[in-house]
Amino acid sequence: MRNAFAEEITALAQTDERIVLLAGDIGNRLFDRFKEACPNRFYNCGIAEANMIGLAAGLAMAGFRPVCYTIAPFLTYRCVEQIRVDMCYHHVPVILVGTGSGLAYASLGATHHSCEEMGMLRLLPHLNVVAPADSQEVRAALRASLQDPNPTYIRIGKKGEPVVHPSVPAFTLGKAIPMRGGHGQGESDEVALLSTGVMLPTALALADWLKARDIHASVHSFHTVKPLDENTLHRAFSTARVVATLEEHSVLGGLGGSIAEWKADRPELPARLLRFGTADEFLHKTCDTEEANAHFGLTPEALGPRIQQALAASLNVT
C-alpha cells in the first residue's frame, strides 16, 4: 500500500501544484521519484511529527494541499492536539497518511501498533477518517481527499497486502463499496459484513465460509469510518439479520464503535450488530501480523461460528 501511495502521490503532484509532501523521516528511497519530479515540494520534517502537522496546516492556509506521511501511531497519538487545533479547528485540508497502521507492524511491538487511533480521531469535527482496503483504494482515497475541502486521515498498511480490486474503484468519501451481494443484486442476505481497511480479504473469505454453510452474506468495503455511509447502514440493518463489522482496530471507537452509536439511536432497525476487531488491550506477545490477527480471533474460522451463533440467537428472539 505504501508503494501505491508513493506512486500515486508522485503522479498526482505532477499535475496538481498544490501538493506538498511532508515526511517524518520515514520512507527511505520511497519518495526518490517524487523528489526528482517535484524537488521543491518534498520536505523531510524530521522526527518531529507535531511540528510537521502545524507546518502542514500553515501550508494549507496558504493554499497548498499538504500530505503528511509517517508511521500511523506517531502521526496520530502524538499529535492529537495539532490535528484537532491546527487542522480541524482551522478547517484546512491537510491529509495525513499513517503507514503501518493497525497490526501491520505487529512484530515491532505495541508502540508501533495503532488499534485505537481511529476512535480518537473520529471524534474531531470536520475530519474524514478513511481506511482503504488495498492499494487500489489507497489511490482512490488519495484522489478523493485531494478534492475534498475537509482534512483527512488515511490509514494504510505497509507492503504486499492482497490486492482485491482489479483496478482503481469508483470511490466517494463516506460511501461504502459493495463487493458482494447486498444492494442492487437482488439477493436476500442474512448477514451483512462491513469491513474497513485491510480486513477486506478476511471479510470475503468469511463470506465464502458462510456460503459453504448456506448462509448468504453481503460484503462492503466500508473504507470511510467518518463520515459514516448511512444509506448503506440503513439498508444493511433493514435487510440482514446480523450486521458484522471487521477492522484491524479496537472494537471500541472505530468502525464497530461508531456504528454501535449510530444504531443506538435507531432501535427500530431489526438487525443485530456484531463488532469484530482487536480487544481492549496492548498486544504483548511477540508475533507477526497474521499471528496477531489470529490472537484477536480475526480469521474466517474464528468469526464464522460467532455469526452462526448470532443468527441462531436472532431466530430464538423472533
Binding site: 521543491n40 520536505y43 518531529a48 507535531a50 511540528n51 501550508l59
Partner: protein, 289 residues
Amino acid sequence: MECTETISELAAVSARMRGEVIMMSHRAGTPHLGSSLSVVDILVALYGAALRIDPKAPEDPLRDRAILSKGHAAMALYAVLAEHGFFGRELIDTFATHGAALAEQPSPHCAPGVELATGSLGHGLPISLGLALAAKIRGQSYRVFTVLSDGECNEGTVWEGALLAPALKLDNLVVIVDYNKWQATGRSEEVTSLSPLVEKWRAFGWHAQEVDGHDLAALTGALATVPHPSGKPLAIIAHTVKGKGVSFMEDDNNWHYRIPKASEVTAAFLELGLPAPVIPAGSGPKKAH
C-alpha cells in the same frame, strides 16, 4: 502599511493601547492583563513600522503574516488591530460579551487581521513555518512574524520548529519572544531553565538578538531588516516587564489573573498620561477565574 510613524508617535499609541487593554479587562472581567501589557510595545512596533499589510485587504495572499502565538494576550492584539483600522471600535466595545466576534482568545477568522486561533501554546511557530515555506515554494516575498511568550518556550513544538526552520532556510521567518520572565504560576527561569534564551536560539541556527522590548526604537530597528542578511531566520528576544506601564502591576504576577477595579483603572490611566476614563457603571471584577 508605511513606516511613517515616528518613535514618539508610536509611544503615544502604546500608551493608548495599554489604556484600551486595561479597560477591556475591567469591562469584560477577563484575565491575562499582565501578559497583554508586556506585549503591547512589540505589537505596536510590528504593526506600526514593520508589517507590509493593508488593513483594507487583510486576506491579500501577499501580505506579511503576524501571528500572536501567545493567544492569551489577545486583548493587546485586538486593540492594535482596531487602532490600525482592521475593524471598527464596536468590536472592542463588545469584547468577550455574549455572541461577540472577539473572544478572550481568538477563534478562527473571528475578525479581519486575526490570522490564527491561538491560545493553546506551541502552535504558532509550526504553523508559521508552513506559512513561510509556502512563500518560499512560490517565490513570494511576504514575511511571517510570530510572537511567543517565554512560558510558551516550555512547549516541545517550539523547539521542533526552531530546529527545522534554519534547515528550511526560512529567512522570511521572525520569532519575537515576549520575555517577561513570568509564566502563569512562577518565574519562567525557575519553572524551566530557560536562560540563556538568546543563545539557545542562536545554537539552533537562528540569527538571534536581544532587545529592550519596551524600547520602540530598538524594536523597530530589529524588525527593519527581514529577511536578515545572514540568510537565517531571525529570533528577537525582547526583554519585557509583565504588567508594563502601570507601577502597581509591573512585575507582579498576580496580574496574570487579576481583574482591575474601577479605581485601579483610573489610577492606571493617570500613570499612562491618558485622559480620565469613562467607566461603565456595574463593570469590573466579578467573574471567577
